[in-house]
């Protein structure tokens, strides 16, 4: 049974720095455990000249399914891959057209290999136009899935994007740049560290609560974090505030 862990409050797996593929895999395993889901998969294509150039795949799927997928050339059939290349909006696998026999058989076989009966894929757009796809799958009934999906969709949009950034940095071989914060961001994080809400910080700084939230979200993202608690802790650790 999936659990809608509150990413905006609680602790989450570290996904701001990956040394190698073991880290990316471990991160996905931790996410599936935290959310009580079956699988998580990250796939990116940086659009290099060769077909397999710049492709990164990290998944918790079992070796038998991965082997089967590759042997049968399922990337040519998998409708998620086809849609993800051009899509910007999240994709619930239950909305995929399964009228074609090849597609029905593909999902049937995936299910037999323990992929799960529900799936959600989130397209990711980076600054350099590199595109990626973050997918989760699980087994549950349709009502539980609808509720779970509504709750976790924004959280996995954040997780997917931060995961993508960390992978891009890992593959470029660059250590993640130490984020530079503007004075305003430092102020906002400092007041958050004092336990102030965005509304209170806005009152103190004489700016709108929404403006505080806007700059806070920007700072969270640049620090490679997924929530405010995480960002405050990291800013303190790095001596930024």
């Amino acid at each position: 049974m999936p659990r809608a862990v509150d990413l905006f409050e609680g602790p989450i797996p570290e996904l701001d720095r990956f040394a190698d593929h073991r880290d990316t895999k471990r991160c996905l395993v931790e996410l599936t455990e935290a959310f009580g889901i079956k699988h998580a998969t990250y796939l990116s294509a940086t659009g290099g000249a060769a077909v397999d150039e710049g492709i990164h795949l990290t998944t918790t799927y079992g070796q038998d399914w991965i082997g089967r997928y590759i042997d049968c050339g399922y990337e040519a059939i998998d409708p998620v891959i086809a849609l993800a290349r051009k899509r910007l909006l999240p994709l619930d696998w239950s909305s995929i057209d399964t009228s074609a026999r090849t597609v029905r058989n593909f999902f049937g076989e995936a299910h037999e290999h323990g992929v799960g009966n529900h799936g959600l894929s989130i397209p990711i757009r980076g600054p350099a136009r590199a595109s990626a796809l973050f997918s989760i799958t699980t087994d549950c009934n349709d009502d539980d899935w609808a509720e779970f999906r509504r709750e976790i969709l924004p959280r996995f949009q954040i997780v997917g994007y931060e995961f993508h950034k960390a992978v891009v940095e890992m593959e470029a071989g660059t250590a993640p740049a130490v984020a530079e914060l503007t004075n305003r961001e430092r102020e906002i994080l400092r007041w958050a560290a004092e336990g102030k809400t965005s509304w209170e910080t806005g009152m103190i700084l004489g700016i709108a609560e929404r403006t505080v939230t806007f700059h806070m979200l920007g700072a969270i993202e640049r620090l490679g974090c997924v929530n405010k608690t995480h960002a405050v802790a990291k800013a303190i650790r790095l001596g930024l505030i």
């Binding site: 849609l83 051009k86 899509r87 910007l88 909006l89 999240p90 994709l91 619930d92 239950s94 909305s95 990711i124 757009r125 980076g126 600054p127 136009r129 969709l153 924004p154 949009q157 954040i158 997917g160 994007y161 914060l181 503007t182 305003r184 961001e185 709108a208 929404r210 403006t211 939230t213 806007f214 700059h215 979200l217 920007g218 700072a219 969270i220 993202e221 640049r222």
Partner: protein
């Protein structure tokens, strides 16, 4: 009726999008005299090449009467890449749950013969569709850059706007940015002011978004 069209729907909605680009040329080039590039009577820019999500208002006969364009701030977008001066030294904000709306237009010609109230309805419907879609996507905020005349229209329609950064004057046009609240209160306010009873999204768009 509001259509939400992302790249997976471009082919299916080719006619709507073509009308949209023609209306954008009429609105931004002919009427407002912006420095935009018009080719074959259609206005397009580099951001249209990035596979944006279009929010299109069309009447029951499929005639387009307004549109806007959505892009995630994690990728290239106008505030970061065209108007960074607005931020006045503050960092560009990128976040997967903050998207940018641009090329907002409601064509008064398309609603020719309508009352002033109908023009407002076309605007209200477009914005109600935008914020309904934003809620379904799970967005926290929407950011947008526009000129001061548009700021008044947006506020009158019922948007909840906080000004962002400073006013700039590209091509002598007073241009500002705003942060828009997303949530059920905003959607309800937009609907109330436009006299809308419920969802304005085309069935297929609603399905695509909640999918």
């Amino acid at each position: 009726m509001i259509h939400i069209v992302d790249p997976t729907g471009y082919a299916e909605h080719r006619d709507l999008l073509d009308q949209m680009f023609v209306l954008r040329a009429a609105h931004f080039h002919t009427r407002r005299n912006w420095r935009v590039i018009v080719r074959d009577g259609r206005e397009m820019d580099v951001f249209d090449d990035l596979g944006p999500v279009y929010v299109v208002n069309a009447d029951e006969n499929g005639r387009v009467r307004g549109s806007l364009r959505l892009l995630p701030t994690t990728g290239p977008h106008m505030l970061a890449d065209v108007f960074p001066d607005i931020m006045d030294g503050e960092a560009i904000v990128r976040h997967p749950l903050i998207w940018e709306s641009s090329r907002f237009n409601v064509d008064t010609k398309a609603v020719d013969g309508w009352s002033r109230q109908s023009i407002n309805t076309a605007t209200g419907e477009l914005l109600a569709g935008l914020f309904e879609a934003a809620e379904l996507i799970g967005l926290r905020q929407i950011v947008s850059v526009y000129d001061v005349a548009v700021a008044r229209i947006l506020a009158r329609a019922g948007c909840d706007i906080t000004p962002l950064g400073k006013k700039i004057h590209p091509d002598g046009l007073a241009t500002v940015a705003g942060l828009f609240a997303v949530g059920p209160e905003v959607t309800a306010e937009l609907r109330a002011r436009a006299g809308l009873m419920g969802s304005v999204l085309a069935k297929e768009s609603a399905l695509r978004l909640s999918a």
